[in-house]
């Protein structure tokens, strides 16, 4: 509890959380008050910012601000979805392996290493192309989550195996708790703050990955995303025509979101890792 009070005192955390909150508001609250329309064409391609269209229009003559907001929203959604999947999978596998040790651990490690060995970006692309609907925002998020969990598994595993030898765990073992019971009651609780940090990082990673895929022109076909905005800007020559409004805002948004998450994470690290505290 004291730790969380500490969080609220740390300027880093406040900065990060604040920034992130802003992006959330932009993505989910602003649309309630403003008409976000990514369909209707309101003018010609790449019209510069104006009174009606603060960020001008994109290559399809659609209001850029709307595109940004919609894009930000789906980017965040992907991030959360992928982050959650990756964290849950990774935690379960990591904790179990880390606690059990022995052969099971070795096999699980092999499994995780597999995913580290086969470049996840490639797996991702192949998976998404092998399915008819593979390019929907949801499935992309799913795939990202399913390829990213290995990292969290590794991280969590290390922590879990360090807990393994702790007295209270041994005690529980002696008192004949089931493995699951021990993991749930005596290991997970001690990792919670850590797992939460993993989640934050995974969310950021998810957002970045989606953006990268979209940058390759392999992004979701059923929705706007920041990465896709950038891809379109590049492909339809916003750079050569100097239409900065078509890509600079999107770039800034991605950076801000990721930055905010990183800051929050490091701030938490500072609080939860006593050695870093002072």
């Amino acid at each position: 509890m004291k730790l969380f009070k500490g969080l609220l005192k740390s300027p880093g955390f406040l900065l990060g959380a604040g920034l992130f909150l802003l992006t959330l508001i932009l993505a989910f609250v602003v649309p309630l008050f403003m008409n976000v329309d990514t369909e209707t064409r309101v003018g010609l391609a790449y019209m510069p910012p104006s009174a009606q269209h603060w960020l001008g229009t994109d290559h399809m003559g659609v209001d850029m601000l709307s595109m940004l907001i919609a894009g930000l929203r789906s980017s965040l959604e992907v991030g959360f979805m992928a982050g959650t999947i990756a964290t849950v999978l990774g935690t379960l596998i990591g904790v179990y392996g880390g606690y059990k040790g022995g052969l099971i651990d070795d096999i699980l490690t092999l499994g995780t290493n597999l995913f580290l060995v086969i470049p996840s970006l490639i797996v991702l692309i192949l998976l998404s192309t092998s399915l008819e609907e593979g390019r929907s925002l949801f499935l992309i998020a799913l795939f990202i989550g399913c390829t990213a969990w290995t990292w969290s598994a590794r991280a969590v595993r290390a922590q879990a195996s360090s807990l393994r030898a702790r007295d209270h765990v041994n005690l529980a073992r002696i008192n004949g708790y089931s493995t699951l019971g021990i993991v749930m009651l005596h290991i997970l609780p001690y990792l919670l703050s850590y797992i939460f940090m993993v989640f934050i990082l995974q969310t950021a990673a998810g957002i970045l990955t989606e953006a990268s895929i979209s940058m390759l022109g392999l992004g979701p076909y059923d929705s706007v995303s920041l990465g896709k905005i950038l891809f379109d800007a590049k492909a339809s020559e916003a750079l050569t025509d100097g239409a900065w409004w078509a890509f600079v805002p999107a770039m800034v948004l991605i950076t801000v979101v990721v930055f905010a998450l990183f800051v929050v994470n490091t701030a938490m690290e500072g609080i939860f890792n006593p050695r870093l505290r002072k």
């Binding site: 790449y46 290559h59 022109g217 076909y221 050569t240």
Partner: protein, 601 residues
């Protein structure tokens, strides 16, 4: 600057490894191409070159873009409709054959003359080997004869070549297409090589011809890497005397850099690193001040010759209903497509598949289009047509379309438009189409798939609507070949089996409602001589097309774009000086530009 040592070191490291990457012609030791002696062209080569084997269907530039190394018999000029001489001096279309007379002076880069034997051999390869491109040609001809053979004094060689038309498939147009499309190969080079690969064409196809291949063209292969392909002028090119009064081509080198996206070609053009390109450059008017020009200085900037369209699988509900197809045609906002997807590089769309301008305009009939045409943006008529045919759209409370229902109130399956992912201009067209169809109450959605999946789907008919540009090459057989490609059902195969034209399975001969007249007209037109007869036939065919609307034309496009930069070279043809058609140097007639341009400044 702490990073510089890094840069240098890395560069060195890279090069020590990286030199495997370049195979400059050993005879030529120069490490560079002087800018004022080099013409840079772009847009005909994507990805690193695989092979320069002329029998392969998919070689690297400049083999795939004709007439730099290998040459065709004739050069079709899409502006005049004339087949201008190249290796062939003249030709004559007879009732049962096409007769070609070859140039006297033509010779290959190794000095050997280009003879009737070479021509005969080249075409007959398609008879022997099924996988070479020319193979298709043999379903239209029965033989290639050299009438003079045997009658010639020694030292002389046959110059008359006779292409005997297949009576069952009588089609002079296809022959003419082939004459301006088939590169003539040196028999004395190819034959032995095939023999060496013990007459197995696949073994032969593994030969890359990447060491100065022998052709009759004005340039020879200089060097290539995954970044560029370079050709060097052949100073004793036979054509210099025949066509250019002994003048040599202006540029010593023609180089095709290989970039990883349209935008890179566009940047290169604007920075004067590239002289001409056939890539799609959006909003060209913004680039004019940087010395980049198109055929016209104002809209539509390019002469158009092909029609990107939505191919309709007429066996899928509800697209089997002509009324639904017409409704779609009425629904689509063609102005949006023109202004947004193709930067306005198109005349306003007219119904039917005959271009209202250029050579085809003489077959174009305004009344027909007015009475039968559905390719006009008219949402109200779209809705009306749907209503009349008994379709009802269903909307949710805030006016969003949920689904479309048929007369019995059954939900119609969503119509998906398939298009290759990453083809941005097509993607944009599709998005606009979907947007307008939904606005009219038709439940349609985009489906962008990878190239591989796309082509498979196309041939197997596994689609509802599909983006495609029929007969996209310039050819004397227009507009017939366009109709042929879309309507011909003689090779009908059910969905799941491959078809290589008429992907929409239109006009199945076995099904009821079969229009025999269509196939009849397609067979008839190529054999017609008199223009008024042709006009009549085309008119009938076009009307049938508009009534049944088997496909949905979307916009007009050039068969290839044509941008040039006058920073380094001047004298490129354009609408003011149309001495050549808009084709970039190295490609078909565009090759002749190389004799007309001069260094700027």
């Amino acid at each position: 600057m702490i990073r510089f040592p890094a840069v240098r070191a890395a560069t060195l490291a890279l090069l020590t490894l990286g030199l495997s990457d370049c195979r400059p012609n050993k005879s030529d030791t120069s490490s560079g191409f002087p800018r004022n002696e080099t013409v840079y062209v772009g847009g005909r080569q994507w990805g690193e070159p695989n092979s320069f084997n002329p029998l392969l269907g998919w070689q690297g530039w400049p083999v795939n873009a004709m007439n730099l190394i290998y040459e065709t018999l004739f050069l079709y000029n899409p502006d005049s409709g004339v087949m201008e001489p190249l290796l062939g001096e003249s030709y004559e279309v007879k009732d049962d054959s096409v007769e070609v007379t070859l140039q006297e002076k033509a010779h290959f880069s190794d000095g050997k003359p280009v003879t009737g034997y070479d021509v005969k051999y080249t075409f007959e390869l398609g008879k022997t080997y099924k996988s070479v491109p020319v193979a298709s040609f043999w379903s239209y001809i029965t033989a290639v004869n050299l009438p003079e053979e045997g009658t010639l004094p020694p030292g002389k060689f046959p110059r008359k070549v006779v292409f005997v038309l297949d009576p069952k498939h009588k089609n002079p147009l296809v022959v003419l297409d082939q004459l301006q499309n088939q590169r003539i190969l040196p028999k004395h080079v190819i034959e032995p090589l095939i023999a060496q690969s013990n007459n197995d064409i696949n073994t032969f196809n593994n030969l890359k011809f990447d060491k100065d291949p022998i052709g009759s063209g004005p340039y020879r292969l200089h060097s290539f890497s995954s970044e560029k392909i370079a050709t060097v002028r052949d100073d004793n090119y036979w054509g210099n005397d025949v066509f250019f009064k002994g003048k040599k081509a202006a540029a010593k080198y023609v180089v095709h850099p290989i970039y990883k996206g349209n935008e890179h070609f566009s940047v290169a053009l604007q920075q004067g690193r590239l002289d001409a390109s056939s890539t799609f450059v959006p909003r060209i008017w913004l680039k004019q001040k940087k010395g980049v020009h198109a055929w016209f200085e104002k809209e539509p900037y390019f002469p158009q010759s092909v029609i990107p369209m939505l191919i309709v699988n007429v066996e899928h509900k509800p697209l089997d209903d002509a009324q639904m197809r017409r409704a779609i045609a009425f629904a689509i906002n063609y102005a949006d497509i023109r202004e947004l997807a193709v930067s306005g590089y198109s005349e306003p769309l007219q119904s039917g598949m005959i271009l209202p301008f250029g050579l085809e305009s003489k077959y174009f009939n305004a009344e027909d289009v007015k009475t039968h045409g559905a390719s006009v943006y008219d949402p109200e008529r779209a809705k009306a047509t749907l209503k009349a045919a008994g379709y009802q759209p269903v909307y949710d409370e805030d006016g969003k379309l949920i689904e479309t229902r048929d007369a019995q109130g059954k939900r119609l399956p969503t119509i998906f438009i398939k298009s290759p992912a990453g083809w941005t201009d097509w993607e944009q067209i599709v998005k606009i189409a979907v947007r307008s169809m939904r606005a009219a109450g038709i439940d349609a959605r985009e489906r962008f798939v990878d190239a591989s999946v796309f082509w498979t789907a196309q041939n197997n008919g596994d689609f509802d609507l599909l983006m495609n540009t029929p007969s996209s090459e310039p050819s004397p057989s227009k507009p017939w070949s366009r109709f042929e490609f879309v309507l011909n059902s003689s090779d009908y195969a059910p969905e799941g089996e491959k078809m290589f034209k008429n992907f929409g399975r239109f006009n199945n001969p076995k099904a009821k409602g079969y229009e025999p007249r269509i196939d009849a007209l397609l067979r008839l037109i190529p054999q017609l001589k008199a223009d008024e007869e042709k006009a009549k036939a085309y008119r009938e065919l076009n009307v049938l097309y508009m009534k049944l609307q088997p496909t949905i034309p979307l916009v007009y496009r050039p068969d290839q774009f044509y941008q040039f930069s006058d920073r380094v070279w001047k004298g490129f043809p354009n609408s003011e000086r149309p001495f050549l058609p808009p084709q970039i140097p190295g490609d078909r007639l565009g090759t002749r530009i190389l004799w007309h341009i001069t260094p700027a400044g």
